[in-house]
């Protein structure tokens, strides 16, 4: 583990509050504003999709039209005008880049600014001795580059953009896309199914342990654009993969919608570890601007002994609204959810998880750490369901909330449903404040206010941060410090 001090040093060097707030001046191609069948046909055509994909999109759109936007969540937001947004924005290039050298240098520059090395030689140079990370970068609506593709292909691993996979591996995409999150699942999932423009696709063949971390970096750049990416990860029998997802967006006064769908499928004895560091632009201290992060993430543990771990560090977005979930279908399958959610200023979050125990001896573990500062408000909402056949299933849930200041809120709403007498569910929850005594103790040892808060909060989240892959743990610790700047004093 990298220490807090180093993280804090890095925080200091960063200075201003949201360092990813820049805009890349790049020639983009937009489809006209608005949402209708023609736009969907256009997206599908632009992406040269097979006919079945267009059909699925149109079905999803037709269904979406019949749905009502949900209102049960705690954070309320002003109505979104779905006709006043662009559904397709792509960096303008005459042809799809064949190699990284064909990618617009401005794009590469953007990712460099974000600290995402796309050039494989740089990746190699940068992480010598450490495990390498293969990156798929999604800029506005399209995947712009995937690194290490060839190396992964040697082992039969498929990693790249989902549009590409639809052409190269249509049978796989068709079999699994929408199998975990069907388009009718919820309002935003239906919208995503209709208009998603790209995302990552991963397939790990039987018995293969993916030799490196796979990573997607999402970037919203264009104005008035929604980002609707779609991620599908399939881990076949006995395979293993660790996948990282990072997100940033420029600083703008308007809200932007990010409605992604992530589907994970784990077969017998397979394991997927999915980590997110979400740092979308959170809006300013008065709540102007920022991303609406309304995402559906769900894993199906289909096989016996399969395992899925979600780890999320959520520091960005004006509103975060999502519940990464596990459907524990295979006997002895395991689902884990480790979450750190930090809200500051006017940020709002309603997040948690769902663990649906179907198979026998299924296990789930939920560790949620929520930190609220400023005038922010945060809700943990979680469902643990033990279905009739979930003999001897077990769940353990721990929800800890930490309050900084006296204008923020923290709420815990656990739903527990059990239909099996042999299943066990445990729930523990705590709410605390950063104590004046803790702050004074740190200050008396020479630490400044913000350094002290970052240290205490990093300690509070340690259990979760420890589950992140090394590369992300460093970034996450930095973020904890940055996102709480100005929360004391």
């Amino acid at each position: 583990m990298v220490s807090n001090t180093e993280a804090i040093d890095q925080v200091r060097s960063i200075g201003d509050q949201y360092k990813y707030g820049f805009v890349t001046d790049i020639d983009s191609e937009f489809a006209p504003k608005g949402l209708n069948e023609d736009i969907i046909r256009l997206i599908s055509k632009k992406k040269e999709e097979p006919e079945w994909m267009l059909e699925m999109r149109l079905k999803a759109y037709a269904h979406w039209l019949t749905m009502e936007e949900p209102t049960w969540q705690k954070p309320k937001y002003s109505a979104i005008d779905y006709q006043d947004s662009y559904y397709y924005a792509a960096p303008k290039t005459t042809e799809k880049p064949k190699t990284l050298d064909d990618v617009d240098p401005k794009l590469l520059e953007t990712y460099e600014k974000l600290g995402i090395p796309l050039r494989e030689q740089e990746v190699l140079a940068g992480v010598q001795g450490a495990p390498a990370v293969a990156v798929d970068a999604v800029f506005d609506s399209v995947s712009v580059a995937t690194t290490y593709k060839a190396k992964l292909e040697e082992q039969g691993i498929i990693f790249g953009s989902i549009s590409e996979a639809m052409k190269t591996h249509p049978e796989l995409v068709r079999k699994y896309l929408g199998s975990v999150v069907p388009y009718g699942d919820n309002f935003f999932a239906a919208l995503n199914a209709a208009v998603f423009t790209d995302g990552s696709f991963v397939y790990i063949p039987k018995g293969v342990r993916c030799p490196m971390e796979l990573s997607t970096y999402f970037r919203i750049n264009a104005e008035n654009t929604g980002q609707f990416e779609r991620t599908l990860i399939v881990a076949d029998e006995g395979s293993y993969v660790s996948y990282l997802e990072g997100c940033t967006a420029p600083q703008r006064d308007e809200n932007q919608l990010h409605a992604a769908v992530v589907e994970l499928v784990a077969m017998d004895d397979a394991e997927i570890k999915y980590s997110t560091v979400q740092n979308w632009y959170p809006g300013d201290e008065h709540g102007r601007g920022g991303i609406y992060n309304f995402v559906t993430k769900r894993a199906a543990c289909r096989g016996r002994n399969s395992k899925v771990s979600w780890t999320q560090v959520e520091t960005g977005s004006a509103i975060t609204w999502k519940y990464p979930s596990c459907i524990l279908q295979g006997d002895n399958s395991t689902g884990e959810f480790y979450s750190v959610a930090i809200t500051n200023n006017a940020q709002l979050a309603d997040t948690g998880t769902k663990m649906i125990h179907i198979g026998k001896n299924t296990r789930s573990r939920i560790i949620s750490k929520g930190i609220s500062a400023g005038k922010s408000d945060q809700t943990y909402r979680g469902l643990v369901r033990m279905q009739r056949g979930a003999d001897s299933a077990r769940n353990y849930t721990q929800c800890d909330s930490l309050l900084i200041g006296d204008k923020c809120g923290a709420h815990t709403i656990p739903y527990i449903e059990s239909q099996n007498w042999s299943a066990q569910v445990e729930h523990e929850a705590t709410t605390s404040r950063i104590g004046e005594d803790q702050l004074f103790y740190c200050q008396q040892r020479g630490m400044g206010d913000e350094e002290a808060v970052a240290l205490i909060v990093n300690g509070f989240c340690r259990e979760v941060l420890q589950t992140l892959p090394m590369e992300f743990a460093v970034e996450a610790q930095k973020l904890v410090g940055i996102s709480l700047e100005g929360s004391v004093g």
Partner: protein
């Protein structure tokens, strides 16, 4: 110029007068002991010196190395070399003692214009003091004061003092709750810190600690003032007679 000069100090807590015209001068190289009955203002003095929120100075002056201490924030005072060993050290869950110590030491080093320690160098830097205080690597990996025994907490305070190399150390009832073995270890830790560069202020209720750390000066604090000063024999006198004499005077 004395290192620490407290002149006619008045302080209140929640509007209640606790310090009422306290005078005290400590020179570098000296060990002072302040003794007094419960509620005489001993802990308040330590918090006023370190700038804790809620301890309001209503009059008087505190000069530290010629600078007005009251103009400094708590963390600035600490970086300038004012150290308080807490009577009740605070728990910080999830933060290892090693990380806490290194963060603190690097904050002070940065202030002094020295390069920060990386984790490996810091372990080496800490090794001797930790061994002297009988603090194991395992203890350094545990979260700050979480699940520590009374003795472990006080030893960890001493380790922090050794690592931070303060100009003046204030020890607030460091002897409370210690058995004799722990008391000896802590006293050895304090004695090892004695130097011509450094002042030490021991705040204690009992004379017991002073058998192991010999003070140059002993003061009696009662009703928010230093009512009597003397050498170490004063401590023995107090042990014998108790504090009733000073309480009666005020009544």
């Amino acid at each position: 110029m004395a290192m620490l000069e407290i002149h006619d100090l008045h302080a209140t807590v929640d509007g209640k007068v606790i310090l009422n015209g306290l005078n005290l001068t400590i020179d570098a190289g000296e060990v002072h002991a302040i003794m007094g009955p419960n509620g005489s203002g001993k802990s308040t003095l330590s918090y006023v010196l370190t700038g804790r929120h809620g301890y309001e100075v209503t009059g008087g002056k505190i000069m530290f190395d010629g600078n007005d201490l009251m103009q400094m924030e708590p963390d600035e005072r600490a970086r300038e070399g004012v150290f308080l060993a807490f009577q009740y050290p605070v728990e910080i869950p999830g933060v290892t003692s090693m990380t806490f110590l290194r963060t603190a030491v690097n904050a002070v080093r940065e202030h002094r214009g020295e390069a920060p320690f990386d984790p490996m160098d810091f372990v080496k830097h800490l090794r001797k003091s930790a061994t002297d205080l009988n603090i194991s690597d395992d203890m350094l990996k545990r979260a700050v004061n979480v699940g520590f025994s009374g003795g472990e907490k006080k030893r960890m305070e001493m380790l922090q003092m050794a690592a931070l190399e303060p100009r003046i150390s204030i020890l607030d009832e460091t002897d409370s709750g210690l058995d004799i073995d722990a008391l000896k270890i802590v006293a050895d830790g304090v004695n090892a810190m004695r130097s011509s560069e450094r002042g030490i202020l021991l705040i204690t209720h009992y004379q017991r600690l002073l058998e192991y750390i010999e003070p140059d000066h002993v003061h009696v604090l009662a009703q928010g003032q230093i009512v009597k000063s003397g050498d170490k024999s004063l401590a023995l006198e107090l042990e014998e007679k108790g504090y009733s004499e000073f309480l009666d005077n005020a009544a």
